[in-house]
């Protein structure tokens, strides 16, 4: 039997007997992403729904000075709350999302036909209050526009005079693309799963074996180091692919529990999507396994390897964050960069766009090229005489 296959089978068997590895690779690793994801999305969706439909409840100071204004706001879904003593403190202390204040001179200015002022206190750095402030301002502007129109009509003029330009907003986002923006973090979860699924094995099979003093006896066998490496990498890949399969399956199931249709969104997390994700991720599986083994080979101990790999786990988050913060246009070259290619490709699939065969091929060829290079570097380290010897 081929030596690499012997090593693969032994590593797989040994680690299948380890509960911690199994739980890590098949439960926590792949399921933590979907779970966190459902939670976040559900919270976001329910909050947006609440904010859009619920009456807008804000404290009003001096409501008595402008009863007509308040009535007009009420008609638009505003529910005035009792006044607060200090509007600035109320906003700063997060007691109120915003505070509306009608000054004492409001009635007088109104009567004279002067612009009558109302004050809206808010904190623009608080993202969660943005919607309340936007709604309040829209209501106020609506009332102002209506009143202006009535005044013009009273003077025998057309209200159209006051609106020389009318903006008609035509949002070109589709329900799918709105869901996609929400889902831009999803590719990171797939990468993370591959990372976690193989991490325990990668550490155990090199740094762990050395620490337990079984690497030196292993290297005394008449087997070339690169064959040993291939067997171990294959075992790591088997575990990380299993993780990925569980994760993709979990996302496909999880998608049914996200009430995206309430927001008028929808997305295609079907079998076709799952399959395309798996194909796109394949080069990363090998690349990450080789990289983890390389790090484990360089580490002096099991603990050191775990620490380094924990830090390394944060690297794949970079393209996800960059692409969700910076409005970078997807370009063809991105498919040539491992990680970035997967991020762009999977996001594109989520957005309802199609990834062409050429793009998939670019992603695979470049990804595997880098993975093989990484494997070659790791093989060199494996061939070094210091590798097997524990200090």
């Amino acid at each position: 039997m081929n030596a690499s296959l012997v090593i693969f089978l032994k590593e797989a068997r040994e680690n299948l007997r380890d509960k911690r590895t199994l739980i890590n690779a098949l439960l926590t690793g792949p399921l933590i992403g979907p779970l966190i994801f459902i939670m976040i999305v559900n919270i976001m969706i329910s909050r947006e729904l609440n904010q859009a439909e619920a009456p807008l409840e804000l404290p009003v100071i001096g409501a008595a000075y402008a009863p007509n204004l308040i009535d007009a706001l009420r008609e638009q879904g505003f529910d005035p709350q009792p006044p607060v003593a200090d509007p600035i403190a109320a906003v700063r202390n997060r007691d109120a999302a915003a505070v509306l204040r009608v000054p004492a001179g409001f009635g007088k200015s109104w009567g004279q036909g002067d612009p009558a002022q109302v004050e809206v206190y808010y904190d623009s750095s608080r993202r969660d209050t943005q919607q309340a402030v936007t709604r309040l301002r829209a209501m106020l502007e609506n009332y102002a526009r209506r009143t202006a129109g009535m005044r013009l009509i009273a003077r025998g003029l057309s209200p159209a005079l006051a609106s020389p330009v009318v903006v008609d907003a035509r949002d070109q986002s589709t329900p799918r693309s709105r869901a996609g923006a929400l889902f831009s973090i999803l590719p990171y979860f797939f990468v993370l799963t591959v990372f976690i699924g193989g991490m325990y094995l990668a550490v155990d099979l090199t740094a762990g074996e050395r620490e337990r003093q079984s690497l030196e006896p292993l290297f005394v066998n008449p087997v070339a180091p690169w064959r040993i490496l291939i067997g171990k990498i294959a075992a790591i890949c088997a575990f990380s692919v299993s993780s990925l399969l569980v994760c993709v399956a979990a996302f496909t199931v999880a998608a049914r529990f996200i009430p995206t249709e309430k927001l008028g969104m929808d997305f295609g997390l079907g079998p076709a999507f799952a399959l395309e994700v798996l194909v796109l991720m394949l080069p990363l599986v090998l690349l990450i396994a080789a990289l983890q083994t390389l790090v484990a080979a360089f580490s002096k101990s099991y603990r050191e390897a775990q620490t380094y790999l924990g830090l390394l786990m944060l690297v794949p988050v970079v393209p996800s964050v960059l692409l969700s913060i910076l409005p970078i246009k997807t370009a063809a070259w991105m498919y040539t960069v491992p990680l970035l290619g997967q991020q762009v490709g999977i996001t594109e699939l989520l957005l309802g766009g199609a990834v062409t065969a050429a793009q998939v091929a670019t992603c695979l060829v470049c990804g595997f090229a880098v993975a093989v290079l990484m494997l070659a570097i790791t093989a060199r380290v494996y061939a070094s005489e210091r590798l097997a010897i524990s200090a």
Binding site: E14, D18, L218, F219, V220, A224, I389
Partner: protein, 244 residues
């Protein structure tokens, strides 16, 4: 047969092995004797091709280890200084793993394995997971897996290290059995009595050099000491005198 010629190995400034030449013959037990840190383990590591010598060469049954390390490893059974087992595998599975890596045919491997389990008295724990093995059980398993391919040459790095009196006695008998089978047995030790009892030939190493290479009788005669321990001390002492 194992021959070394002028082996040298340095780690940075430290010359761990500094010109070691000796021969270990078939049907003999050769002892590599030296104080801790003399370079025994490094020498053995070069013999079993884990390390490449800076200069010099190793011949195992006439094969140059630098030219064909894989062929050399097939002819060696090695109990290294590191003797870790796979704790989630049983003793039998640990042995089988090495049998497959050595390319021993399955039927042959099973026969050899059961024979070794018999000779090494491993029956009681052969199907237990290696986790929680005693030191003696670990060494026995490590020796069984090292000899599963029936190697002509056997290298043992401090084989009795950490064993109790009974286990040590059995280990020594086992080495005599290996000799009786016509194998070339080379082991390292820093225990004088052990070497005196077992060896046909003693290679004394101090500070990375061979300071004596002869039979125990010759060693006693040369040094004029009737007691081998005194001879050992005298040789290493005078060697240090020469080096200074």
């Amino acid at each position: 047969m194992i021959q070394t010629e002028n082996l040298r190995k340095a780690f940075g400034e430290v010359r761990a092995v500094d010109g070691v030449t000796f021969t270990a013959r078939d049907g003999e037990i050769t002892g590599l004797l030296g104080p801790n840190g003399a370079g025994k383990t490094t020498t053995l590591r070069m013999l079993y091709t884990l390390m490449r010598p800076d200069t010099g060469r190793v011949l195992v049954d006439g094969i140059d280890s630098g030219a064909d390390p894989i062929a050399v490893r097939k002819r060696l059974g090695v109990l290294p200084d590191a003797r870790g087992l796979y704790k989630r595998l049983t003793a039998r599975e640990n042995i089988d793993y090495f049998a497959r890596l050595q390319g021993v045919p399955p039927a042959e491997a099973t026969r050899r394995r059961e024979a070794l389990i018999e000779v090494l008295e491993m029956r009681d724990f052969a199907d237990r997971h290696a986790e929680g093995f005693s030191q003696g059980q670990r060494v026995k398993t490590a020796i069984a897996r090292a000899l599963i391919h029936d190697p002509k040459n056997v290298l043992l790095d401090e084989p009795t290290n950490g064993l109790d009196v009974m286990a040590t006695r059995r280990m020594r008998q086992f080495m005599r059995d290996l000799r009786a089978e016509g194998r070339c047995v080379l082991f390292s030790s820093h225990i004088m009595q052990e070497v005196a009892q077992l060896c046909d030939r003693i290679v004394v190493i101090a500070k990375g050099r061979v300071v004596a290479d002869e039979s125990p009788e010759d060693l006693r005669r040369h040094t004029g000491e009737s007691n081998l321990e005194d001879a050992f001390v005298k040789i290493i002492g005078s060697a240090e005198g020469l080096a200074a």
